[in-house]
Symmetry: C3
Subunit: 427 residues, 3 copies
Amino acid sequence: MSEQLVQRLCDELTKLVLVDPHTHINPHSPASKTLADIMGYHYYTELAHSAGMPKSQIEERGLDPKTKVGRLVESLVHLDNTVQVSWLVELCRKFFGFNDERITTSNWETLYDKAAAKMAEPDWEDQCLQQSGIERVFLTNDFDDPLSGFNSQRYIPCLRTDDLVFHFTNPTVHTRLAKATGIEPTTVEQIRIAIGKLFEHFSRNGAKACAISLPPSFAPRPPATAAELNQKFAAAFMQADADPDVRRLGQEFVFWTIAEFCADYKLPFDLMIGVNRRVYPEGVYQGQDLFDQRVSLIQYKDLFNAFPQVTFPISVLAQISNQELVSYSWIFPNVVTNAHWWYSNIPAYIELDTKARLQAVPRNKQIGYYSDMYKLEFAWPKFSMYRQCLARVLATDFVIARKWSENDVLDLGRQVLRGNVESIFRV
Amino acid sequence: MSEQLVQRLCDELTKLVLVDPHTHINPHSPASKTLADIMGYHYYTELAHSAGMPKSQIEERGLDPKTKVGRLVESLVHLDNTVQVSWLVELCRKFFGFNDERITTSNWETLYDKAAAKMAEPDWEDQCLQQSGIERVFLTNDFDDPLSGFNSQRYIPCLRTDDLVFHFTNPTVHTRLAKATGIEPTTVEQIRIAIGKLFEHFSRNGAKACAISLPPSFAPRPPATAAELNQKFAAAFMQADADPDVRRLGQEFVFWTIAEFCADYKLPFDLMIGVNRRVYPEGVYQGQDLFDQRVSLIQYKDLFNAFPQVTFPISVLAQISNQELVSYSWIFPNVVTNAHWWYSNIPAYIELDTKARLQAVPRNKQIGYYSDMYKLEFAWPKFSMYRQCLARVLATDFVIARKWSENDVLDLGRQVLRGNVESIFRV
Amino acid sequence: MSEQLVQRLCDELTKLVLVDPHTHINPHSPASKTLADIMGYHYYTELAHSAGMPKSQIEERGLDPKTKVGRLVESLVHLDNTVQVSWLVELCRKFFGFNDERITTSNWETLYDKAAAKMAEPDWEDQCLQQSGIERVFLTNDFDDPLSGFNSQRYIPCLRTDDLVFHFTNPTVHTRLAKATGIEPTTVEQIRIAIGKLFEHFSRNGAKACAISLPPSFAPRPPATAAELNQKFAAAFMQADADPDVRRLGQEFVFWTIAEFCADYKLPFDLMIGVNRRVYPEGVYQGQDLFDQRVSLIQYKDLFNAFPQVTFPISVLAQISNQELVSYSWIFPNVVTNAHWWYSNIPAYIELDTKARLQAVPRNKQIGYYSDMYKLEFAWPKFSMYRQCLARVLATDFVIARKWSENDVLDLGRQVLRGNVESIFRV
């Protein structure tokens, strides 16, 4: 009966059309063309590699899409337990008429061809969104993205700022910034003006958020004075091999300046906290990053206090950070919980995290989920996974333990799934 | 059937009258007078503020109780999901004849008036305790509390020592200590003697515990020699802005001295580990503290080894500390687990923590729960929440998984709820 | 019905005969002779001590086995809730015809005598293994173990290297190494050659793994040059009280050299990460170690990258490390998850950890369980505990949530229980 309750809640929640508040969709090519686009998602390439397939086979130069899929399918026998592979099977069932339990070396070619035919339909993008119950999709845009040539009602720009904060000393970043803004960033004040121009451009083009991913060691502080920064300008902003303490001054200045413009432009600042890049440099593309769980939100204390007018939707990579996230969201008005990110995006952790959040964070401060997808086909299975977890927590902790009516828990579920996305990002 | 089992166990456990081993009750005014006393609990003010209400509205000077409640009720629409608001609703149902699902802008005034009438009854304190199944209540007393003018059979003194250890350099602490003991703390030896006088006073007045809350950075060590401490006396004990390393010598000396007197007076020393104070200084009263989960019980290794004759009931703020607490309690005879504190006091964490403790810590070393309440009305909903969690763990992990009889699990439940409070605190 | 499903899966998994991939069995005396061998396991002595029994009573010199058991039985009244005591009761039921719910001061003598009679049967070792469903057992051998005089088909050697890495400066280690290899370790090159001889000896005698336990502070780095190491030879390799930074150079060199030989000899290198030794030096034998959970697998980044050809089965002591273990195993081809170790080896944590691993780590990279036992009688109750947890996760997360067939989940269970032990350790 409890399983029936979960299913009933899940079915109702599935009727709600959603706004996906964080993805890596390319709005010029949002949907897949073949299964290679789908199975080229780093989850499959990195898991295939982890399970024993050499990187050289997966990333062989000039590999045609079908051969690549054929190779990756060989790995699925080691991966079918993973929830990531369940996403793959679920989307093939949903969109491509796949009816088997597993994708195998015997059935993949038929699937490949059926999928290719379906994705070749001219309105595949619309079909996919419609079947997935998604109507608007946040993007992740480079700071120098022209933001033109796509439907910005459907695809909502978001200013991604990792390059500015952490790779400012990279000459190509200078060049890109100068080109995008017409300003050579040769003084602290020019950097500030250039960043302001980016915000103006993004805001004018409908951006609804600014975002950044952050390493566990980062602890933003109010920046040094302009005088000090200008005096140390080269080491702070120009030299990748400068004294790390001085280089950090540059990062802190850029980060703080971005937060100031978030205040000016009334943009929420998505913080995705805790990733170490290139921990396994010989890994496949996008399959090299990991984390150090020894991180605390206390590192962001100065930031949260300095910008009460900026909303910070926070994602944490380490599951153990969830209690801090719950507690900081419970105390700081400007901190809100944001979905279940990457290595924490599996049902075992989603369910634990959702329970704690629903028990202790104000209901208007919880963004339930984003897909983080690169291709539209993934919204369906990822949101489905989340809805299952959410429905389970609503059933056990609210309907059963606290005797809430099903209508009341569905209202809570809908707020977390969609309502808060609208109110927090003003979309 | 399993839900019925949980309910059956819970109902039986509810019959047991309890001793609440840690509260902030003022024995001169233990019960509430209006709903404003109840909704003024920091959980409601901080959550209302977190959900969007300005501090100025909540803490407006001269606000009358009824207006304050009216304002806070407006926030409940954002907070009804939280377990803290479920405590509020539960106690209103239990004590004030409230029958609705939620407290709203439409029904709160009636509730306010009914509650005020009930609480105006001359024996409300007795009624509340009796209905709550509580017969004795530990206090949290300032070190200079005269401990007179209340029923010390019902209200058991506990010497709280945060001020002595962490605010000794504050001149008012010096003054209070001198006034309470008749000793000017101008040498290390005088400090020791003064602290001894406090213990004598508390012990003579029926104190059954000493307690302190500790920041995550604290790591007590055997103190420096008296000679060194006297030489650095000003920086160690008098100056709030002294070199932190020397100031820490003072904190370590006071802390260690307190532990020594706990040994002499056979008092358990409650350690509440992991809170950072004033992380959000613009927060409402008592809604400013948070934590850094990067803390380990290894920091207390010297203490546990140096005082085998002192029992340390330990509460941890970060849920991730629970496994260390379980493991240290499993190995050290003088370490016992103490309830579920503050940010860990929600069902999601209570249930996980209870499971691990019941599976691996000797049953005579577990203090199940304390209410931490400021007003008597909260014992009922908080202990109810805990009993539900405990009953669930007893049902699944003992009756179902290990085939224990219901009588045997109830004995275990009663020991954790009350028996160990009596044996550990000798009450 | 769900409980029936769990039981059905568990019963099927129990039919599978296993290889136990990590134990402390003495192959010259693998089984117990009396209950004192069984109750002398550190879990019982340390828990009895923790619950209040003085170490002097437990470890009294010259205590005869029966008196010792009688004393320990007195503590069981405080310990019957623990899963460790449930192992004891379960093995007494399984092997010694014990039928009561608990071992008490009234029934233990009969049990003691029946157990002694059973264990005196000449084929007890064979009976015990056969009834336990275990056919091969990994050992933990000192580096200077002659590895002779036992059935190495049944008992598989494993080179334990803690002494070499962490106690090299101890003169007895020098002497033992010289004696075992015929080489005086007086230069860096001689140390390397001596370690190589150990690998040759172990490999020739059927060793299938190398293993080490590691403190939370350890972070292996590529070693210093031979020139630097030889220059600092005394402080790095000979003096226990040398500058810790130089001594660490010695530890890093020995550790890295062992990893190199693991590559040469194609041996997996079991890393057991996170134990602090002698945290409670007054504790009973083997009941003195604890941990500091502030540790990260990022500390092993250099190692994992430097030795792609070595498989690292990793056990973590702190439960909070499990997500890092899951994530590093998901990304690094040479990292695999290895069982549930010591303070994490209780159902509450096994179940959480198993859920995350089965949801996100390739199925061919998970070693489900090892017993870590010192006496053969413990394989049965420990593996039974694990099988219950595994069956529960397979039932809820795969049969119910993901609609897998029971046959398919049993295949997954069998791979994790046995198949991967065979493929990873090549046995």
